[in-house]
Structure formats: structure tokens, C-alpha cells
């Protein structure tokens, strides 16, 4: 564990930071936003519930994995900063193939969010951490929301988020999205990660020296071939792994288009979509 980890966790409900009162739900008013936040996580961990709590929207939620299959966008304002928040389908991994999971992966990789909140299930933390660590491989700007704390307590589980944050090198905030518990702290922390006042040092799997050398050789080549590509390191690792899809994406020249597509709001929230299930 690197020693220079410096994470400041704001105190919940302290007198000087009346955080929740500064949250303004902005629904679908996302024309003028300052920052983009992505909501990622395993299926059925409560991303859409958190999304609704922040935006005031009524994104359809349901207790089964796979409810959200496209990305929905909404807005909230916190301490005077306007955020656009993107609710993504749940995914177990960034290597997966089904179409809903691809939507999530493409946005995390190429959407260049200012911060990614990885929502995890406190009652199944170990499995959830696999995705967290994959996200940490590709970006520094991560906050882990340990959701469903109420369920964990009911099951007699105690989650030490300080230990988690120390091990992961990014903030880990306990929340219960259903009741709103911990959301103010979460938003404070996200704001801190976005503006750089909270520094993160994500834990990464280093691999062998030859592997690191190979990655380091490929990264500048990819960056030169696709200017502005945000995750050359991840692409390099995938290429070394022989990922056919990534190879195809690179040779067919679809990467710039993929990056551009993430910046467009291809699915905005509307009541119609909520009803017909196309969140």
C-alpha cells in the first residue's frame, strides 16, 4: 500500500457542512452542467435508486438484476456546482459481452466522467470489489458507495469503510440510497474528488516487470494513433490479452466515434421511457 494516500472523509451531519440542504434535484434539466458523474456497479446494487434520490426523477427501479438496460441522464446541483449524472446498467466486469453491459463499459471507458461512483452491495462486498478494482485500473477519479448498509446491518454484517478506503486508495462511503442515509457525505466526497481536494491513489495490479514494460511500450503508440483517447493503458492491456473486439475497434477506426457517442445524450430520461422500460 503506498504511503502517500491522503483521503479526507467529511464528517456526516457536522454543523459546518449542512450538505443535504445544499442538494438541489434538477430532474432532466441537464443542458448546462459543469461536471459529469457516472454511476457504475454490479447489477441490482441500487444505482437507479441512488439516481432517483439525487435527481428527483422516477427512473424505474426493481428488485432484480437487469432492470436498467440503457443509460439514463439526470441532473443535480450541489454547493453551487451543477452535475450531470449518468445511470448505467449493472455489470459484473468491464470485459463482458452482453449489450446492456457494453453500454456501461463504453461509458466508463470513453465517456470521460469527472468522477465515477461505483455502487457496491454491502452484503456481497467481495464479489462487488472485482468490478471496483477493474474500474480503478482505468481511472483515478473513483468514489466507492457501499450501499444497502441497512440490509447489511440486518444480516449482522459490519462493514469497515475506513479499512476499505485504505485498501482501495479511494474514498469509500457507507450509504443507504433508499432512505438517503450517507448521501450528503457521498456528494461532499464526490465534489472533493472532482475538484482535486481529495487525492486518490487507486490500488492497481502491477503485474510482472515484463508486462509493465510491454504496456508502457504500447501506450504511446495507441495515444498517437487515436488522439485524445482516455484509456490507452486499458486498451494496451486488452491488446496484450488478445481481445478480438478491442483489436477490431482499433483497426476499424470506430474508437473516435465511440468517444463522441458517449458525449451525446443518446438516451435522456423521459416518462415514456420509464413506462416502456427503456430507461
Amino acid at each position: 500500500m503506498p504511503e502517500n494516500t491522503k483521503i479526507q472523509l467529511p464528517t456526516e451531519n457536522c454543523a459546518t457542512c449542512p450538505a443535504y440542504t445544499q442538494l438541489e434535484q434538477m430532474g432532466i434539466k441537464i443542458d448546462n452542467f459543469d461536471r459529469v458523474i457516472a454511476l457504475a456497479g454490479n447489477p441490482n446494487t441500487g444505482k437507479s435508486t441512488l439516481f432517483n434520490a439525487l435527481t428527483g426523477l422516477k427512473q424505474h427501479t426493481g428488485n432484480w438484476p437487469g432492470k436498467t438496460v440503457t443509460r439514463a441522464e439526470g441532473g443535480y446541483q450541489f454547493n453551487g456546482v451543477r452535475y450531470k449524472i449518468v445511470d448505467l446498467p449493472g455489470t459484473y466486469s468491464l470485459l463482458s459481452a452482453s449489450q446492456d453491459e457494453e453500454v456501461a463499459r463504453d461509458f466508463i471507458l470513453f465517456g470521460q466522467p469527472d468522477c465515477t461512483i461505483v455502487v457496491t452491495d454491502a452484503t456481497a462486498l467481495e464479489r462487488n470489489l472485482n468490478l471496483v478494482m477493474q474500474v480503478l485500473e482505468i481511472t483515478d477519479k473513483v468514489v466507492v458507495a457501499v450501499n444497502l448498509m441497512d440490509e447489511a446491518r440486518r444480516k449482522g454484517l459490519e462493514v469497515d469503510t475506513r479499512s476499505l478506503a485504505r485498501d482501495l486508495g479511494v474514498p469509500a462511503i457507507p450509504v443507504t440510497a433508499r432512505t438517503g442515509e450517507g448521501i450528503s457525505t457521498l456528494l461532499q466526497t464526490v465534489a472533493g474528488v472532482v475538484d482535486g481536494s481529495i487525492l486518490t491513489t487507486p490500488r492497481r495490479v502491477e503485474g510482472t516487470p515484463e508486462f509493465r514494460r510491454a504496456v508502457n511500450e504500447l501506450v504511446p503508440m495507441i495515444e498517437q494513433a487515436v488522439p485524445g483517447i482516455p484509456n490507452a493503458r486499458w486498451l494496451a492491456i486488452r491488446l496484450l490479452d488478445g481481445d478480438a473486439r478491442v483489436q477490431k475497434a482499433l483497426t476499424s477506426g470506430e474508437l473516435p466515434e465511440l468517444m463522441a457517442r458517449q458525449r451525446r445524450a443518446d438516451v435522456q430520461f423521459s416518462r415514456k421511457m420509464a413506462v416502456e422500460g427503456r430507461q
Binding site: N44, G62, P89, D100, L218, L239, L240, L250, G253, V275
Partner: protein, 462 residues
Amino acid sequence: MESTEILQKAETLRAGLSTGFRDEIVKSLYSEAENIARRAVKTASDKKYDFDQKVDRLVTSPVFGLPIMLALLAAIIWLTVSGANVVSEAIAAVLFWLGDQGIALFQALNLPWWVTGFVWDGVYRGLAWVVSVMLPPMAIFFPAFTILEDLGYLPRVAFNLDWLYRKSGAHGKQALTMAMGFGCNAAGVVSTRIIDSPRERLIAILTNNFVPCNGRFPTLIMLATVFVAAGFSGFTSSIIAAATVVGVVLIGVAFTLFMSWLLTKTVLKGEASAFTLELPPYRVPNIGRILYTSLIDRTLFVLWRAMQTAAPAGAVIWVLANIPFGDSNLARAIADWLNPFGLLLGLDGVILLAYIIAIPANEIVVPTMMMVYLGAGMMIDGPSTNEAIRSLLIDGHGWSMLTAVNLMLFALLHNPCATTIITIYQETKSYKWATLSVVITLGTAFLVTFLTATVARLLGWA
């Protein structure tokens, strides 16, 4: 820098790496996750089986799983049927009374007959029918279904049905997409994105329409109540009607499985793929949110969509019925022309005309049909009670039990509504599959109704 050069470079570099480097990385990722989780999570209790597991043992048991599922489905449908019946009649009575007042008002104002007719007999009557037939069942079914969804029961359904789908060569998660289809087939088609095999996803898309959506439930409920359960009274009648609707739903599921199997054996050959399915913990449903989602978002929205198509459909029928054609009118002439084909299927020409006018939204088929009967000058007053509907159809227009049964089968099996067809095109990006989805369903509907009609006639039942 050429991208092919990068690929070549990657090849060379990979060759220089030790062979197991991928496994090493994955392994270290997993063991890290395990260590971190172990340090962060403390288990205070040592309960061996918690409540969730006990419930799951029961609802996913090989013996009780399916019966419990059927019982839940039957209970929801019975609630819908018995509750909707009374309310529908009451709403219809009020709305048709209002319509009569409107006509009286227009006549008192000395407006031309065609203004009165177009507004009140055409547009208004269409709306009144749709509201009274659709609103009550949806307002009961949607909240009941959403409670099951919020509890976490749906994945258990998928678990129970998995073996059936596997045998048909389809994906076990297709059960989830079918459950979504109960609400709306377009939503069901979009939800197939959770299936990662393209072959099985296509099967799920093409067969989703065999699950009756909420637009078609009111049709089934009305026919089951008015015809099948007609000879019974009170409680028995609601049980018979609910059992009929459950039967129709099961026939739909059977067709889904059969068509999946047929597709697997023909155009979409392949093996069912393996998948993992997470059974989430049971959660207490949030009643406030359920009421909002199911009543405001779903019920009122779907009703609004139906009203938007019912108003122009009512207008079209009124106009058709008031254009003279020969010694009759155009609506009647078209219905007469379609009649031989309709009779072949155990239906009639008016029903087929109603289906054609209602293609934009299946949910308005029964109202459209009633309006064609009425609008074509075949009857003057809007029947508001079940008794009146039955006598209009049986005595006035030669309906029999065969007509009612075949109309239910036709409603279950026929082509998707326009919204669903467009969604299928958007999801598959292929005119071929969108067309096939129509051909398969319509072909099945024609074939099945033709067969039942022929058999019933040969046996002397109709």
C-alpha cells in the same frame, strides 16, 4: 502510426510474455478482492440459514416452485378480473350517460347532425370505451405485479422456468423478458438486452409477443367474463373468468416455448448457453413508490396512449360508417367483404376490420369492434353492461362460444402493435427480423384459429 502496426507490436510483445500472465493478473485481482473484503467485513451473527434462504427453498423447490408460481399468477388475475368487472360497468354507465347529455346539448344548440355524430358517436364513444375497458384492470394489475417485482420474485420465476427454456434451446433469462412483456411487449423486447448470446436474444425478441401485454389483458378479461363465465353468477363466475385468462396466458407461454424450439431447430440453430443468475434478497416493497410507478407512470400513461389512438380510430369508424356505399355504408361493405375470411377463422368481418383499424395499438381492438358494430348502423345505443354486450353480440351478430374463444386466441397470438414492431427494428437493426416477427405471430394466429374453427365445426360444436 497505423493501427495494424500496433496490433503487430502487441503480438510481438505478447509472445515475449510468460504464457500464464493473464491468469496471473486475474488471479491476483480476485485474491486482492478477497483479502480487502475480509479485512473490511465482520460477521456478527452465525445464523446458518436466514429467512431469505428458507423462503427460497420453498419458492424454488422442484415440487412447490411451479405450483406457487401458478397460484400467484392466478391470484393476481383473479383480483384483476373480479375487481375490474364491477368498476368497468360503473365507469361505462357514467361515461355513456355523459355522452347522451352531450348529444342532447348539441341537438339543443341546433348543430348539424354530422358534427354531433362525429364528436359524440365517433371520437367520444371511442374514448369512453377505452377508458371503461382498460382503466380498471390496469389499475389493479400493475400495482400487484410491481409488488412482486419489488419483492424480488421475478428472478425466482426465471430460476423455476430455466429447464423449460433450456429444453427449447432458449436462454433462461427469457423468463424475465417475458415477465416484462406482461406490462408491455415493447418493454419486453428492450429488456432482452440482458441476454448476451445474440441467437438467444433474437429468439426472446421474436417470441415476446406471445405474452399478452396489458393492452390485451382487458380484451381477454372482457371476453372471459362476458362469454365463458356467462352461465355462472357472483364468485363462481369470477373464478371461471380468471381461470380462463390464466389458461390463455399458459397457452401463450406454451407457444413461446414451442416457437423458441422451432426457431432453434430451423433459422436460429444452436445450443442454449450457460449463464449465472443472481437471486437478490427479498426486500420490503416501498408502497408509495409502487403506487406512483404503477398508477401515475404506467396506468395513466398507457391509458393516455390508448386514448390518443382511440380518438382517431373512433373518428375513422364514424366516417367509414357514414359514407354511403351501395345500399349500405363503407364500414359495413368492408366488413362484408372480409366476412368469408373471418368466418374461416371462426371470427367475422367486423372483427378483422377492427383489427386492421387498431394496428397502431392492440388495446383498442374490442372498443373498435364494438364501435364498428354500432357505427355501421347495426345498433343505436352504447351497451354498458355485460348483459347488453352479450345480447348484442350473440343475438344481434351471430356470435358463439367459438367466436369468443377464437377471438381470445387471436388476441393472444396475432402480430405485435406498431410500437413493438418499431422497437424490434430498433433493437435488431434489421427489417428482416422485424418482418419475421410479424409473419411468425400472424401466421400462428391464422393457423391456430383456422384449426380450432375447423375442428369445432367438424365435431358439431359450432
